[in-house]
């Protein structure tokens, strides 16, 4: 019998629709896979076998009764632990939310529940999505399925590793500065950050409200489009949700034709600082696109020089403000200060936040508080906001010349666990290629383009498009995916090492 965990979501959906397999069988297969490998990978913080199987059984009986169902009904999904799930723990990878059970669903949770996707559980992440390695989770790191001594990227390392390790075909991620795309690149999976406002933020624990965006984490471009379409569209509960027809991403992924497409290589995102194997695979992918009829030119975005610095001001500033809500009064842990009789609310707040937040979260809150302080605001936060304007202008000028931009997703492949933990600035520099999309609100898609010669680890390529032109990413991404798979004779993840199976 087919190993159901190896199917893409669209393949599984087709089998479910033809009643060749049941959702209970598919869900049980994923739960068995999680039980077998997740002790090692640690992609999940919480697994809800009972709830997932109940949803699966419900879908199976509704399908048997002839009910019209969503195309992805019965396909199991993993959800990043930053997304509110009613009745299921949501910790954001933080001790401060240890044991919190949301009393409501995020809009995207509602949408996947309404469509009948069994929720397998919640995936690991850097605490409050702050990090590029998933080592900042208060519950321990996730390991990269390609090499378990290496990080899977972050913040959404759990969702990416779950998909790469065949624990799920679909996962939800969120991307504030690359937290979907960079783990995608480092684990050989597909990840998409949609246009800002394309998918509702209602019920996502906020990191940086002007940058945060939820999106799909999958093994194929078409699967990403299917999940994107399911989650996307206007939501009155999110004031920044775009009230306009959503881009037609699924038909774009099926089109997969780059003939005549104008592609711009971002000059500043390559060369020095980029690992040789990353540059080699990237250049080969661009050649493939050229051979398929795309017109490739080089494009310059001069203000990229300042983008990383601007990001590491805007993000901590917004985070320091957003995380003020963790005050130990309405939800979250309360830890009174030791040795203080009858402490005040303020003392309890300060000691709870010290006990509940990890090192990286405290670091960013301090930086953000500094940048927003009277006397420093204009020089830091204000200047960073001006860089956003310059960057948006650069992108606008570039998209007058080309349809999409390309760059490597990450300057390096996955690094060993612990290698950058003591040097936060070197970790921040890993985000150089992904943060510009968040600052400008444009969509980005990362897909695997091969393995680096020097270490045999996955390399990702990123497409960028103008706001609300997410469909261009799926068209170009699916075309490149097909060109590469024809060359490789199958998907890249088929080359991933088999994981030792427990029991």
């Amino acid at each position: 019998m087919t190993d159901l965990t190896r199917l893409s979501a669209s393949e599984l959906a087709a089998k479910l629709a033809r009643k060749e397999v049941s959702s209970v069988e598919a869900t049980q297969a994923q739960l068995d896979r999680i039980a077998a490998v997740d002790g090692d990978i640690h992609a999940f913080l919480h697994v809800d076998a009972e709830g997932a199987l109940a949803t699966a059984a419900d879908i199976d009986s509704r399908r048997a009764a002839g009910e019209g169902l969503h195309g992805l009904a019965g396909v199991p999904i993993a959800v990043k632990d930053i997304v509110a799930t009613k009745g299921m723990p949501t910790t954001c990878g933080s001790k401060i939310l240890d044991g919190w059970i949301p009393p409501y669903d995020a809009t995207i949770t509602q949408r996947i529940k309404a469509a009948g996707l069994p929720i397998l559980g919640k995936t690991n992440m850097d605490e409050f999505a702050m990090g590029s390695s998933t080592e900042h989770s208060a519950y321990g790191p996730t390991r990269n399925p390609w090499d378990r001594d290496r990080i899977p990227g972050g913040s959404g390392g759990g969702s990416a590793a779950a998909v790469a390790a065949f624990e799920a075909a679909l996962a939800i991620g969120t991307d504030t500065g690359g937290s979907i795309r960079q783990p995608g690149a480092l684990t050989g999976t597909v990840g998409v950050k949609p246009t800002y406002g394309g998918i509702s933020r209602y019920g996502l624990v906020a990191l940086a409200s002007s940058l945060d965006q939820a999106g799909p984490v999958t093994r194929t471009v078409l699967d990403a489009a299917l999940l994107h379409e399911l989650m996307g569209g206007h939501d009155p509960m999110d004031s920044t949700s775009i009230d306009a027809p959503a881009p037609l991403v699924v038909s774009a992924a099926r089109r997969a034709d780059v003939k005549g497409l104008k592609i711009g290589i971002v000059k500043e995102l390559g060369g020095e600082g980029f690992q040789a194997g990353v540059s080699a695979r990237f250049n080969e992918a661009v050649e493939l696109l050229t051979s398929a009829g795309a017109q490739v030119v080089e494009v310059s975005l001069p203000s990229l020089e300042y983008a990383l610095a601007a990001y590491y001001l805007v993000m901590p500033s917004e985070a320091s403000s957003n995380l003020a809500r963790f005050d130990a009064m309405r939800y979250g842990v309360r830890v009174p200060p030791a040795g203080v009789d009858d402490p005040s609310a303020e003392q309890v707040m300060a000691s709870s936040r010290d006990a509940g937040f990890g090192d990286e979260v405290k670091r960013r809150i301090i930086v953000g508080t500094y940048a927003l302080s009277s006397g420093y605001y204009d020089a830091y936060y204000g200047s960073a906001q001006k860089v956003r304007t310059l960057l948006a202008r650069d992108f606008a000028a570039a998209f007058e010349q080309v349809d999409v931009l390309v760059s490597p997703t990450s300057p390096t492949t996955a690094w060993p666990l612990g290698a950058k933990l003591d040097d936060p600035l070197s970790m921040y520099l890993q985000d150089v290629a992904t943060i510009p999309a968040n600052l400008a609100g444009i969509p980005g898609l990362s897909l695997p383009v091969g393995l680096a010669d020097e270490d045999g680890l996955p390399v990702g390529l990123q497409f960028l498009a103008p706001q609300q032109a997410d469909d261009r990413l799926y068209n170009a991404g699916a075309a490149l995916e097909k060109l590469l798979e024809d060359k490789w004779g199958g998907p890249m993840l088929a080359q991933a090492p088999d994981l030792e199976v427990a029991r």
Binding site: P103, Y306, A310, Y312, S320, K362, I366, A379
Partner: protein
Amino acid sequence: MSEPAKGISRADVSHLAGLARIDLSEAELDHFAAELPAILEHVAVVQQAAGDDVEAMSHPVPVNNVFREDVVVPCLTPEEALAGAPASEQQRFLVPKILGED
């Protein structure tokens, strides 16, 4: 406005932690005071990027206030709203004293 100081002292970190309501330990203050100058020096390059003629951009899309019809819609029950509270009493959040004794 005066030119922002290049460095950040241990006392500055302690003050910022107070503003952020985080009771940092002595060891954490040492650690952050040693580490933050390099991070702040790196991000300070934004000051060279743009002149006064460039507008600040707070959001990637235009932000407008959004209203809905003023009608009653389902919301959390008091029990649901209080379910995650560290302490509650009489359908209210129970908090430590807000004001000092004196």
